[in-house]
Symmetry: C2
Subunit: 282 residues, 2 copies
């Protein structure tokens, strides 16, 4: 039975998942070393126990959860392997099957076993809108941690990397189409046909104006970490001999929006302005 769950580098998602396990009576530990004050405050509020550094976290955890920005997934696996951790790691990152394979091999080199996982939905905060997909041996053991939590555990009863593949397919539409929509709005503005486009959408695609606004607000603050996710999806489609251009383009769109990290939800007009006059701060 799992008694202690360790969460590597919890962001908004990891911390909320930790809170779910705390609420169902488990001990959840994390390592505050090198993390921001905001992260510390959030982890405290979520009832996570700070054990200091990664070595201490690995020593006390029955199961470790890795949920981080996609570009950091392999590095996190390498840090865990460097400690010789021989337990179970749930990798819930938005990464391609190929990257999942690299994570698996990296962790195996340190002695760990891996459960392929992925997440769809917002950080689980009581509304039961978040699914955590699991593929592979060990899934049931992890699922028991969240039996009564506002986090719906879906055991795919499939071999890895089914959970990563599902996430790639899901986000390929949900985020890829958001990037496309932003590019369309930016072009219409550039060409001076925005009012005419919104009039035509009102007639024939009545959800798109509202969708532009809603997705601008949602995507803006997260765009910085969606860049790597789009590149993971592009690589995933290319590995399947499908066109990878949708998601390279979406990566470029989100890259131009990186300045909204940590800021308030932008309006579609702010998104359009960034796409047409990209920031040059790096």
């Amino acid at each position: 039975m799992v008694t202690t769950l360790g969460i590597c580098a919890p962001g908004a998602m990891g911390s909320a998942i930790g809170a779910c396990a705390v609420a169902t009576g488990h001990r959840v530990v994390w390592a505050s070393q090198g993390r921001s004050r905001d992260t510390v405050a959030r982890a405290e509020e979520d009832g996570l126990t700070d054990v200091g550094d990664l070595g201490a976290l690995l020593e006390t955890s029955d199961v470790v959860l890795s949920v981080c920005p996609p570009h950091a997934a392999v590095d996190v696996a390498a840090e865990i392997a460097a400690h010789g951790y021989a337990g179970t790691v749930i990798d819930a990152n938005a990464i391609s099957p190929a990257t999942m394979g690299r994570v698996q091999r990296t962790l195996a080199s340190g002695g760990a076993t891996v459960v392929d996982a992925s997440i769809v939905g917002p950080p689980p905060r009581g509304e039961d809108r978040t699914r955590l997909f699991l593929a592979g041996a060990g899934a049931e053991r992890f699922a028991a941690l969240f039996a009564d939590a506002p986090l719906h555990i879906v055991d795919l009863h499939a071999a890895p990397p089914a959970a990563s593949a599902l996430k790639m397919a899901y986000a390929a539409w949900s985020k890829g189409s958001a990037g496309l929509l932003f590019a369309v709005r930016a072009y219409a503005s550039h060409a001076g046909v925005e009012d005419a486009l919104l009039d035509e959408w009102e007639r024939s695609q009545p959800d798109l104006a509202e969708r532009s606004d809603r997705q601008a607000a949602d995507a803006g603050p997260k765009a910085w970490r969606w860049v790597a996710e789009m590149e993971e999806i592009a690589a995933t489609l290319d590995d399947a001999s499908l066109p990878d251009g949708f998601h390279h383009a979406a990566a470029e769109v989100f890259h131009r929006l990186r300045g909204h990290r940590g800021g308030p939800p932008p309006a579609i007009e702010d998104v359009v302005a960034d796409l047409l006059d990209p920031p040059t701060d790096d």
Copy 2:
């Protein structure tokens, strides 16, 4: 006043537009030279008068309408110019502002003036779902042809190429997102997670499964001519310094579906099969 409308190379769209003008009491002419028996039969049914060849068409027309597959737009303009036609040409093709500029210069070399136009919606057949957008001098004159027809004329009261730009923006989403959706379905099938994706869509994106089916049926038979339209849109976005990859990818998706030209509406499963195992007939 316009009394005779000439329609260059009428396909399903051009023939239906011609029928609208016939219904409002105008003479509509076309040239059957080199066209298929199906086209001849459709034009006869729509009340279009066959004048034989392009030269005769240009001689008798007050206004000429060009509506053809996007890849043929400049060639059609060149044929008209080669006849020294000095009247008005309405170019309603789905082409980029840059291609519209080439059409305009080509026609001007023969003496013609051009009205920038574009079409959104299906061939107008009595349901009033189709809009024809016009930009530039001469728009009102053409609009009078369709005063009572099931074709909604929208004068953008803007300089060219506003109508072409609007079409690019509109189709960038409507067709670009269809291409993305097909690629996502193909990947999910390839990776063996199609059932899991459809389950998750049922929970959180309940319109997408039905949309896949509907857009597969709609796009399949037209995909062969959407390839060039997607390339026009890619060039349009690139000219605006926006990412062009979405529509290069969509062009590749529709290229793989070209075998459905003239066939029955395919199921999404047929579309997926073509994307994963592209035809190699050319």
